[in-house]
């Protein structure tokens, strides 16, 4: 595991807690900060540290396991696995995400960001950079 990785949770966010945890973990996985073979903290430990119910973390781990990022084993926690084989594109899921993205782009424009700035920010994110 590269350096010290964190997962954060905003209690005021409208995004459900398990989604926030899964999104944070996915970001680390996509960025390559979490590599195949890395062991994630046990569900109970992460739930305790974040102060959420065990099921919340279990749900986040399950979501990532379904996406092919993690392997869940009883009593051994979650292990990052190699995700070499490209998965078939889920058209419905992609459409949904693009719809969310278009809403966010509209919000950014109404907040005063230019199209060029939004494009640049999106490019940075798509290339694995941060804002």
């Amino acid at each position: 595991m590269a350096g010290t990785l964190r997962v954060s949770l905003n209690l005021e966010s409208p995004v459900p807690a398990y989604r926030q945890i899964a999104d944070d973990l996915r970001r680390h996985l996509v960025d390559g900060q979490l590599k195949p073979g890395d062991l994630l903290p046990p569900i109970r430990q992460l739930a305790l540290d974040l102060g959420v119910h065990f099921n919340t973390v279990a749900l986040a781990y399950r979501l990532l396991a379904d996406e092919g990022w993690l392997e869940l084993k009883r009593r051994r926690g979650a292990t990052v696995i190699a995700r070499n084989a490209p998965r078939a594109v889920d058209r419905r899921q992609v459409d949904g995400l693009l719809r969310q993205l278009s809403q966010i782009a509209a919000q950014l424009r109404s907040a005063g960001m230019s199209s060029r700035q939004i494009s640049a920010a999106l490019r940075r994110l798509a290339e694995g950079g941060s804002l």
Partner: protein, 343 residues
């Protein structure tokens, strides 16, 4: 002046000293059980602490003066002793009230709980210090003593301590089981507040020392109760006689050392960390409103069974957690159980 009188004087003074130290033991941004900013603690909070300490010592001085006045060499009745015990209790209650009043003032400067929670993705060590084998040591000591006692069962003369020949050892086994349960649950069901960096290392070290303290308490109980049992066996009793200090002195020194270390590093070991390194850590990740009187943590929404104590050092149970209640019930039943075994 009787030894009882001096004991009361000592209790009053020790209590005042304890209450004097309590604000110094909390995390740097927790004052009188309230989450505040470090700037407040260093500024206005300092005046609040000074006034609180003056109140505590004034109460203790008044209690000591009353005790001296009440002390009468001719008074052999129990009335004087009762009065003096009342004064001592009063001084303890007074210090508590002073703490609660200071807490009320600090609450006006409480920071709202953070909406953002952060956790490390690095798995931390939740094993017992020394491993399971080391933790099993107290049971091994008690078992070995039980076997020895069994071997000499017929040679022990009848007496009050032989009513239940294994009573002390069973008592010890239950006590050890409780200490180890507390140690295991503290290791596995307490929250890591700082996600990473020196603050996280200090916090983990502090937790491990607390766990080690519980394991060593189990060892101390096993050794002492085994010594008492072995002493009742003819031949062995003479061998052990006068050698108790071999065990007691190192245990007391260790206890003293751990206490001094904990006082120095403060709650969560955070006072040993440079202020810059602890900048990212705010409070103890528990909401103020869940602390009843600033002392008892009741939060059913918190999965943690143990949380850092806000009144003094170490950890306290989350009274809103059903697992914590299993331990509380066991602790409440233990004295009754012990009474049946020992007397």
């Amino acid at each position: 002046m009787t030894s009882g009188f001096w004991a009361l004087m000592l209790v009053v003074t020790a209590n005042a000293l304890l209450f004097h130290l309590i604000p110094r033991l909390s995390r740097p941004d927790i004052l009188f059980g309230v989450t505040v900013s470090e700037a407040y603690v260093a500024g206005v909070g300092r005046t609040l602490v000074s006034r609180y300490r003056m109140t505590v010592w004034a109460g203790a001085a008044a209690a000591l003066a009353i005790l001296l006045l009440l002390q009468s060499p001719q008074d052999d009745s129990g009335r004087g002793a009762m009065l003096m015990t009342g004064v001592m209790t009063g001084s303890i209650v007074f210090a508590h009230v002073a703490w609660q009043l200071a807490r009320q003032k600090a609450r006006a400067h409480a920071l709202p709980p953070s909406d953002v929670r952060v956790a490390s993705l690095v798995t931390r060590d939740t094993s017992l210090p020394g491993g399971a084998l080391f933790a099993a040591g107290p049971f091994a000591i008690l078992l070995a003593t039980a076997l020895l006692r069994y071997a000499y069962l017929d040679e022990v003369p009848d007496g009050p301590d032989t009513a239940n020949p294994f009573g002390q050892l069973v008592f010890g086994a239950v006590f050890v089981a409780m200490m180890l349960t507390m140690a295991v649950t503290l290791a596995r069901r307490s929250r890591q507040i700082a996600a990473d960096g020196p603050a996280a290392s200090a916090e983990q070290r502090f937790r491990r020392v607390n766990i080690l303290g519980l394991v060593l308490a189990a060892y101390a109980a096993a050794i002492l109760l085994s010594a008492v049992t072995v002493k009742s066996i003819p031949g062995f009793g003479d061998t052990l006689s006068g050698r108790g200090w071999f065990v007691l002195v190192p245990l007391m020194l260790l206890n003293f050392g751990v206490t001094v270390w904990m006082l120095r590093v403060g709650q969560g070991g955070l006072r040993a960390v440079a202020p810059a390194a602890r900048r990212e850590v705010h409070g103890d990740a528990t909401p103020d409103h869940a602390w009843i009187f600033g002392m008892y943590y009741v939060n059913p929404r918190d999965p943690a069974m143990w949380v850092e104590n806000r009144f003094g050092l170490g950890y306290t149970l989350n009274f809103g957690n059903w697992r914590a209640w299993l331990l509380i019930v066991a602790m409440m039943l233990f004295p009754m159980f012990a009474g049946r075994l020992l007397f």
